[in-house]
């Protein structure tokens, strides 16, 4: 996990109450194949552990959190507090099945954004595109800002 400074690094994991592992395995493989260094914290990972991992790997471009079991909101509740404490200062990208029940509403997504989640994806295939866009936006910011 100590890759050369040029390689891109992300932190990946599954939300605290959630044990769904398959997407996590696949996304980890996929990002690795695409040249990323993936710090994979696996399933059932409290938000504070994501913050710890970021402290350890400050180079990380983003924090990727999967949540399939419907508990995304509850499991990410500490985000405002952690951010207020200056931690998790990276784009937090959440993906999966973000609320309980078979009929979803737009408010599910808005609630997460309200917590400070930066992006909600339903499909991992858009992930690399999003990471590239975020990096480009950051580069532009550094240049002009």
């Amino acid at each position: 996990m100590n890759a050369s400074p040029g390689t891109r690094l992300v932190i990946l994991g599954v939300a605290e109450s959630d044990a769904h592992a398959v997407a996590n395995h696949l996304i980890g493989m996929q990002l690795t194949e695409q040249g990323f260094v993936v710090v994979n914290l696996g399933v059932c990972t409290p938000l504070s552990e994501f913050a710890d991992a970021l402290d350890l790997h400050p180079r990380a471009e983003a924090v990727l959190i999967g949540s399939l079991n419907g508990h995304a909101y509850q499991d990410l509740r500490e985000l405002p507090a952690l951010r207020a404490a200056g931690r998790l200062a990276r784009p937090v990208i959440v993906g999966g099945n973000i609320s309980v029940g078979s009929r979803k509403s737009a408010t599910d997504r808005e609630r997460l954004l309200g917590l400070g989640v930066d992006h909600v994806l339903s499909d991992a295939s858009q992930l690399v595109l999003l990471l590239d866009m975020l990096r480009a936006a950051k580069a532009a910011e550094l240049q002009h800002g």
Partner: protein, 471 residues
């Protein structure tokens, strides 16, 4: 004789439990008609009856956060005629975050993906067991379920799912196997005590594991090891579940192999009932296709001689189903297992061959463990060294070096046997099955993705072909 005290429960749970005698009395009272209600059989009674009838009992998964909502859900589903109903527990309770579950219960119970039985307490559990004339099973996914188990017994619930392997590796990140095996040993020991007192608790073993592309011999080997541990503690009624792969010959063979393997290794003191978990992987999205898979699950269960089938719903791909969809699922599974499809014959030769190899693979996986000095240490060492393994483990305590693939027929094979100590003959057969399937040039990731989304892809192909007039 083990009893609730041997569960070493946290004091806040132990303090609130009823006495042991009260728990026993409650079980016995349930089986008799009560004021304004019919007698409720035990789950093991239902299984015996299904076994005699030769048609699988049907059971849905079901659990919502609120108590009145849960009672209502059980009553609604009861209309569809299940033989057993579930109390599916929320993820927080599974992970023993009882405080989080209690807090959510106060603020917004609909935020829970199951019924937080511990937070509700055993008194409400008794209301559940009296709400419907069918017995209940607790379905959860707790590596250490002692607290949940104690509450379930106090409530009068006569079936309890899980085991030291199947409810650890798919359900948690870092609980050592030694811990979960020993926690379940306590649970099994209490079941033994209850059985001696005439209260036979059905213990279902979760052969479904991580649900996605689980090779049958992995499933059967894990439940066999758990079964041995349970029988040793005095468990008398075991349901051994296996997840539908969707390739019917393989599934029927696996269900039949559960009986032969049990007879060979578990002895005659335990009743063993094969259970089919309807397809547990990525579910198709259209009602027709999903419905067909549910129907075929019922059919597979009957042809494989399963005693029970746990049904799915056409909303599986989307989220926790509503009551109506869940009731439909019960009926669809039951129809698939009904006389309406009694005309269906399968290629029996193919099944027999498949069954032979499953049994052989199971033997090759478990026998080294059985010859180790002690079962639990054998299991722990096996996983540590990769001689025991499961694919896509959620836990760091399995290596997941096994790489499963579907062959051309859709059957699940080993593309890589990882550290499993398979004979050359087994390896040759596995390799040959995949060779014939010939999908060269694909990366492992692409291959896994395709196989994981097997039915979704079939569904898309069906829909597209029809759009393009291919029918």
């Amino acid at each position: 004789m083990a009893d609730i005290d041997d569960l070493s429960l946290p004091p806040e749970i132990a303090a609130r439990l009823p006495g042991w005698q009260d728990t026993l009395d409650n079980f016995r009272a349930l089986r008799r008609p009560g004021p304004g209600r019919a007698a409720v059989p035990f789950v093991c009674d239902v299984l015996r009856a299904a076994e005699r009838a030769g048609r699988p009992a049907v059971q849905p998964r079901c659990g919502v956060g609120g108590h009145p909502e849960m009672v209502e859900l059980l009553r609604a589903l009861n209309e569809a005629g299940p033989a057993v109903l579930s109390v599916t527990v929320d993820a927080h309770t599974r992970l023993r975050r009882f405080d989080v579950a209690s807090a959510l219960l106060r603020t917004d119970p609909t935020e829970l993906n199951g019924y937080p039985l511990v937070a509700h307490g055993w008194q409400r559990g008794r209301e559940l067991t009296r709400a419907v004339p069918v017995p209940l099973e607790v379905r959860h996914g707790s590596p250490d379920a002692r607290g949940l188990f104690a509450v379930a017994m106090a409530a009068g619930i006569t079936s309890f799912e899980g085991g030291g392997i199947g409810y650890n590796l798919p359900y948690s990140k870092d609980v050592p196997l030694g811990h979960s095996l020993r926690a379940w040993q306590r649970v099994d020991a209490v079941c033994g005590t209850l059985a001696d007192a005439g209260v036979v608790i059905d213990r279902e073993l979760f052969g479904t594991l991580t649900a996605v592309l689980v090779p049958p011999s992995v499933s059967l080997a894990m439940t066999l090891l758990e079964g041995l541990a349970a029988v040793r503690e005095g468990v008398r009624c075991l349901s051994v579940s296996y997840p539908q792969s969707g390739e019917i010959h393989q599934d029927v063979a696996a269900l039949r192999a559960i009986r032969t393997v049990a007879a060979r290794y578990l002895g005659a003191d335990v009743e063993v009932y094969p259970v089919l978990h309807e397809f547990m992987g990525v579910f198709p999205r259209t009602p027709e296709f999903a419905g067909l898979l549910i129907l075929c699950g019922g059919l597979t269960a009957r042809l494989g001689g399963a005693t029970k089938v746990v049904s799915k719903t056409v909303q599986e791909a989307y989220g926790i189903p509503d009551a109506a969809a869940n009731a439909d699922g019960i009926r669809m599974a039951a129809l698939g297992a009904s006389e309406m499809l009694d005309f269906v014959r399968l290629e029996e030769d193919r099944i027999a061959e498949e069954q032979h190899w499953i049994e052989r693979e199971v033997a090759e996986i478990v026998e080294p463990v059985l010859s180790s000095r002690e079962l639990f240490t054998g299991i722990e060492e096996g996983f540590r060294e990769g001689r025991l393994d499961i694919p896509f483990s959620a836990s760091v305590h399995a290596r997941s070096r096994i790489v499963p693939r579907r062959d051309r027929s859709g059957a699940i094979r080993y593309a890589d046997c990882g550290g499993l100590a398979f004979s050359a003959a087994v390896r040759r057969r596995q390799a040959a099955a995949l060779e014939r399937s010939g999908a060269p040039g694909r990366t492992l990731l692409e291959a896994a993705d395709t196989d994981i989304h097997y039915f979704l892809q079939k569904e898309n192909a069906f829909t597209m072909a029809r759009r393009n007039r291919g029918n």
